[in-house]
Symmetry: C2
Subunit: 317 residues, 2 copies
């Protein structure tokens, strides 16, 4: 039996046939068009048909279709409540794609699907309670409890970047101040790096970007810190303490078996996760007596979207 994973993005829709082990057998990408979502789903139906043909499979060989989609999703009903990327509102994606394909469809927010993907097929197999945190443009994530995606009653859950780190702190796009995302995203790290550079004209951070501060990205501070630059080290240490503080909140709430790091910053791997573990050891509530949370790095890279989407139906059927 195989699963279909559909990863809907603002510019492309990536679809793949995934086997029981989470390997992609075949995949393709089509453009996300500025058309009615119903028509878009017809095209996805054709995309799946072609994929199956190209791999000598039929609809009988697949148990279901999982769809990961950006935006506010009601997974239980399979409705895209609102997606600013796709400009879809209250779209009954599950119903429509089921009528096109005659296969069971399950929809989830893309970050939620990625979380489940890591649990079913990735680095967090064999962990009971798993939280994924992605550190990219913003901070996103998902919660999986005993292999089940936490979806709440009406969806739109797990805005894990939007908990307070500093009451009345930096203004956040969500309308509030002081959110985790404003301190722990790659965007925040870039801001923190630039700010430190402006205060230290002699830092190696400047040579790393050839004197052009606009070239600073999420890797700059980490790269230069590893070279021993004091200012870069300070930036990284402070930034990691922000990341860790949010992790600690999630430890105290959930006592998860694992927290998985995704997004651009997670590429720092153990250099990052080891620092976070040290912070947790120091500050976790009743640390000595509490069950430990492992800090892992996401395993599914470029195809995480497709595999995560496929895991939605691997779990259910």
């Amino acid at each position: 039996m195989f699963y279909i994973g559909v990863d809907i993005g603002g510019t492309t829709i990536k679809t793949g046939v995934v086997d029981k082990l989470g390997n992609i057998v075949v995949k393709s990408a089509i453009k996300t068009e500025n058309i009615a979502p119903e028509l878009q789903m017809q095209k996805v139906g054709k995309q799946i048909e072609k994929l199956l043909q190209s791999s000598n499979l039929s609809f009988d060989d697949i148990s279901g279709i999982g769809v990961g989609c950006p935006g506010a999703i009601n997974g239980k009903k399979g409705i895209v409540g609102y997606s600013s990327n796709l400009k879809w509102t209250n779209f009954h994606l599950k119903d429509v794609l089921e009528s096109v394909t005659l296969k069971p469809v399950r929809v989830a927010n893309d970050a939620d699907a990625a979380t489940l993907g890591e649990v079913i097929f990735g680095v967090a197999k064999n962990y009971g309670v798993v939280i994924l945190l992605t550190f990219g443009t913003g901070v996103g994530g998902g919660i999986v409890i005993d292999k089940k995606l936490y979806e709440g009653t009406n969806g739109m859950v797990s805005e894990l970047g939007h908990i307070t780190l500093k009451s009345n702190g930096i203004k956040c796009g969500c309308g509030r101040r002081g959110c985790y995302e404003q301190y722990a995203s790659a965007t925040a790290l870039i801001r923190q790096t630039k700010s430190a550079m402006l205060k230290d004209k002699n830092s190696l951070l400047w040579s790393e970007v050839l004197g052009d501060i606009d070239k600073v990205d999420g890797k700059t501070a980490f790269t230069v810190a590893k070279q021993g630059d004091k200012t870069a080290k300070k930036v990284v240490d402070k930034y990691v303490s922000y990341i860790a503080e949010g992790c600690l909140n999630y430890c105290n709430i959930f006592r998860p078996d694992a927290i998985v790091f995704g997004g651009g910053i997670s590429k720092e791997g153990e250099y990052l996760t080891e620092k976070v573990v040290k912070y947790l050891e120091k500050y976790e509530y009743g640390y000595k007596g509490t069950p430990k949370t492992e800090i892992l790095t996401a395993m599914l890279k470029n195809d995480a979207g497709i595999i995560g989407a496929a895991s939605l139906v691997a779990e259910e059927f």
Copy 2:
């Protein structure tokens, strides 16, 4: 069929026979003694036996025994990992009480049991995802998802007062700085009230406590604010914003159907909850599009411990 609820506290053990509707049929209290926990459980067994006799019931009429206990509990295994109040360490309560009573026993942290009690028998019936927050000496709580207590893999979960409100803020007993509990507990409110009084010698807060600042309690600021005192109003508004900020975090994570307020401060009822709702309306992530969270006041008062404990087995059996 009836349930037994056992509420173990530092000074007394309250036990009751509870019916299917959550009414206490009969109850009693015995002293918590400084004896081996195994012996204490034998006494609880006798306590239950007497209660059943006094109400013309037998062990055959009860489906199970629920136990609420302060401290770090592994509910799945029924082990009290550590309870500073009781000075018990790694005590296999479930196994011992089952061997004494020959009935199924389920153990949970007392705040977790209280949360489930409100869901099964109290104000939060018919709500899917429910979070209880108690504002007393500290801030505690519990999480119930689809009528199931969230217990994690190894327990010791839901330290809901220990998430950051102010990174690097007021030092917390847990070893960290800036925890929610340091701003939103009754203890914090008392500190905030006193601090405001020292800055405004003309505030009615002073006459409320007959000039004795040591008489300030969790009600003082609320009482005087309702009389129109400007300083007291400021204290209450700021305090409520702290309470609300933590609620907002839990909304963004869980999108719960209800948050239930317990503990001393919850006696302020709608005066408090309405202010919190207004704050959420203003700041919740994507509020207009998100499912609403109701803010409720706990219903089970003095007997919440017994009824909460009984709900542990009402759920399971």
